[in-house]
Symmetry: C2
Subunit: 560 residues, 2 copies
């Protein structure tokens, strides 16, 4: 069937330039060709088709910026800091460098709501030619295509922050970077061309920089700075809890001195390893795609090399179960055979995926982190579960709790949510972590709990999900999606901590009861003494003695 | 600065093909060049850079499929139906055709969890060359770049459903379409190349079709079919409420006869008009982008032609306030002048945006729709607010309530959420609509309400947001983002309905009290009669008379 004229037009109109030229006038100019089209005997379908075009991913996110966490001025500021800090920490850790990250927020003079965010690190720096792509192109990065725990995973965040800055202030993102003492430090300003989703470098220069290597990113944006829930301050203090190896320096707009979060340990976490996909988590379509693009020629080799936990023996078992030969050519398998192979995988016992792609905080450091940052509590418990798997992705749940002390006893517990060591600040209601916490029956652990809500008590609960791929409910990475395997693991970890907490609460209750009883004794014994003296007609000293004896006996009996 | 070798590699590696070739082996093969790179004196930055690459939008969404509503088998089925129905309704309405949409779900034999979804409409059909782009390319469509109410807006949904089908079953999407009685009907099968985000047509043929025009899409996918909350059945019955002009035919997998939702009106809603952006909602960055791409040469003309509600007079006022001349050349304005212009806009009084881009359901049809689909209630109220604006986007809130009858009185109210006539089935907790409902003090309207929760009572609340751009919290379009203007309007509409509801509830309470009192009288009056007879020593007939008088007096006094 030959291409109609209208269809030809559309395919052209998809190009970025054309779309840009047409965009603002589209509404008015379209009317004329539309009617003309109709009158030439074209169908309604032609008319509708003439309006269709490609949408660039940056146009999409510019319009849908709330998906990326830029739906309010205050949140935009937090998201910008968060994306920059996430990137800085990831870069340092990948280069085996103990991270030192400095965050500075300046209120810009002459404006009510404009700020400059500057985040600098002692990381490995970024190659001059990479800077533009990293900071001004959405969907570009090193973390998306691998299976390994990291804070960033999408290749969107920091470029989106720069795009938001550009949209609200017209200013480019400014980056300083140096990749080593023998290399120049470079300063680059980049904008993002949202119609094409490509970076545009607007200026560059080399500069003197007093650090051997590192990166500094600087974004001007419209924002609002306020402390409290969901603030940069909260985010940073929670970052310190989940990253006890990191030094953070935070200079807010109204502070004279920066706040410094000193590390609680001088040891980097074990670096997580990259793994290959596990056969159990691979769907038919993905299996077919992997077969198509594999470097292996034979089916057996493909299974062994392209998956984790598939030995020659397991590969043969899978092939046998599918009725296929391990020497079959991967690329000439029919759809039917692929289906058989896919079904066969589920029937063969395969070891769980390797978990060295994960980097949990650990029970010890969780307690230390909580102790350091939550001074008002008096008792700390923690629980790190064994790794588990959802949709083929390894993950691991950790829970910590800070209890008692001067924490408010008659308010809902405070819940701190973390994913890959990043504190989550928004969308608590839509998060699997919140759902898991409210679904536990806390009355069994001596806490009150309104139906379907967080329990009430002097407790701070921290939940950390570490995974090679955290399933966030939106690109802004504020909440974890509710996969049943994840919910289950969180519940089990909470219950583990709950039991420890209950011991503490019981002991505390016993002590409290103790005190209460003691105060009763102290209160009433003199009266009893008085009564006894009258009844038995005792002398003052004799009465005192009797009262003392009585007190001792009561004390003793209580301790039995 | 010359490009380093490593950087050159990366720029190449961004291409789809290279990425595909490398993907599965990346983990193993990368190790070698990495170490080699280091030993040649390259920095850690070179090593990290060698891992960075482009991510295609379809790869991104394939991995993040829960963002699109494919996080469970059951939801995947609903999302697929929903996207297909949304598209069918939009297409019919744009072509001024009263929509007749048929949905068929078949369980595929030989599988536990495979289904075929077929959705067909009497719409205008799709041009042969457009079919592939519409059904197998993410971020392609006619609705993203315009300001006008429609169900679809992103150009993602139906292609994502096809991609999910392909990933889980390996099968392509099959489309039949005919654009008019003089044209052939065409059947096309398309796959999506996820690495490049482009469609691949796998087969095509012309066919006999007994309809003059229309489209049918057929997707095989792994799913789960179950009735109840979040089911296809619920989605369709709610679609019928919000679209009283639509005929829906629904053939479930276990039904012998299809369910038919007949339209409640034979009139199409007024077609919404496309509008231009309103100056108040335009941020500095967007303003600068619009100036760059405008077809107008002069500033005054730019303001008049590229925005809505800017007359020559308003354009001049803006220019005056900015200290700029209306005859200034748009494309040669400096950054400073753009800022001045942007600031000036906020100081000039400009009429609210036109609202003919919206298509609300209307108070009458809301009540009719509720009455038709919720037979168990006895009283119906509704409230359509005047249009309002968030971030420059016009929107309008409507609320309907069904009350009393046999609705459960001791359970939380049922909340039905709609956006642009589409019922929202998931993520109620994260939705501005839920937040607005729980934030109203329902005790003021005679309903019980646990703290921070939905009120309790025999009520179904329906909330509809109509907008030229609904800000969804994720691409799956399940919840509305909480912009303060939107929350406020929903609250006002709820309060409007609340007052009407309260009248009903009060009347009902009065009647109930009445009944209660009457039964007391009936119960005690004989006893009172007995007592009086004894005290006053009355005869039997005299007593009966007195009792009757007493009853009358009591009745009368109650009616006053």
């Amino acid at each position: 069937m030959p291409r109609g004229e209208a269809a030809g037009e559309i395919l052209q109109a998809g190009g970025g330039n054309v779309a840009r030229r047409r965009a603002p006038e589209a509404a008015t100019r379209r009317a004329t060709p539309k009617k003309a089209g109709r009158s030439e005997g074209k169908t309604k379908a032609h008319e509708l088709a003439s309006q269709a075009r490609h949408i660039s991913v940056s146009e999409f996110f510019a319009k849908n910026r709330h998906l990326l966490g830029f739906d309010s001025k205050r949140k935009a500021l937090l998201t910008t800091v968060k994306e920059a800090v996430d990137n800085a920490l990831d870069a340092c850790e990948e280069a085996d460098i103990l991270p030192e990250v400095a965050i500075r927020l300046e209120a810009l003079e002459g404006y009510e709501d404009r700020f400059r965010v500057t985040v600098s690190d002692n990381g490995p720096g970024i190659l001059p030619d990479q800077i533009d792509l990293v900071f001004a192109k959405l969907l570009y990065g090193s973390k998306f295509h691998r299976l390994r725990q990291s804070r960033g995973q999408q290749g969107i965040g920091i470029s989106a922050a720069g795009m938001y800055g550009q949209l609200t202030t017209g200013k480019p993102t400014v980056i300083r970077s140096r990749i080593g003492p023998k290399h120049d430090a470079l300063e680059v300003a980049v904008r993002i061309d949202t119609v094409k989703n490509v970076p545009v470098r607007t200026r560059e220069k080399t500069l003197e920089w007093n650090r051997p290597h590192g990166t500094e990113v600087c974004i001007e944006l419209v924002g609002q700075y306020k402390k409290g829930k969901g603030s940069i301050d909260n985010y940073l203090s929670q970052t310190a809890i989940a990253n006890p190896h990191v030094k953070l320096t935070w200079q807010g707009p109204n502070e004279i001195e920066p706040i410094v979060y000193e590390p609680a340990t001088g040891k980097l976490p074990d670096p997580p390893k990259e793994i290959k996909p596990h056969p159990y988590g691979v769907e038919l379509g993905l299996l077919m795609k992997m077969m198509k693009s594999s470097r292996s020629t034979r089916l057996g080799a493909f299974l062994q090399h392209d998956f984790s936990r598939v030995s020659a023996k397991v590969a043969k078992e899978i092939c046998d179960a599918a009725g296929l030969s391990p020497t079959a050519r991967v690329k000439s398998l029919e759809h039917k055979s692929s289906e058989d192979l896919h079904k066969a995988i589920t029937t063969v016992k395969i070891m769980s995926p390797p978990t060295n792609c994960l980097s949990p905080i650990g029970e010890d450091l969780i307690r230390k982190g909580l102790q350091k940052e939550i001074g008002e509590a008096e008792f700390f418990v923690s629980c790190t579960r064994s790794p588990s798997v959802y949709r083929g992705n390894p993950f691991q749940i950790e829970v910590g709790m800070a209890l008692g002390g001067t924490l408010a006893a008659d308010e809902p517990v405070r819940l701190l949510r973390f994913a890959n060591r990043v504190p989550l600040q928004y969308q608590a209601g839509g998060c699997a972590i919140t759902k898991a916490v409210t679904s536990v029956d806390w009355k069994g652990y001596s806490l009150q709990q309104p139906r379907g809500a967080l329990p009430v008590g002097p407790v701070i609960i921290m939940v950390h999900m570490a995974s090679a791929w955290v399933p966030f409910t939106s690109e802004s990475k504020e909440a974890v999606a509710s996969y049943s395997e994840i919910l289950k693991e969180i519940r089990l970890a909470l219950q583990g901590c709950g039991r420890q907490m209950q011991k503490f609460l019981r002991r505390r209750k016993r002590v409290a009861d103790e005190f209460k009883k003691r105060s009763y004794i102290d209160k009433y014994i003199p009266h009893i003494g008085q009564a006894l003296r009258d009844i038995l007609e005792l002398s003052e000293p004799r009465t005192d003695k009797l009262v003392a004896e009585l007190r001792d006996t009561l004390e003793r009996s209580r301790k039995l």
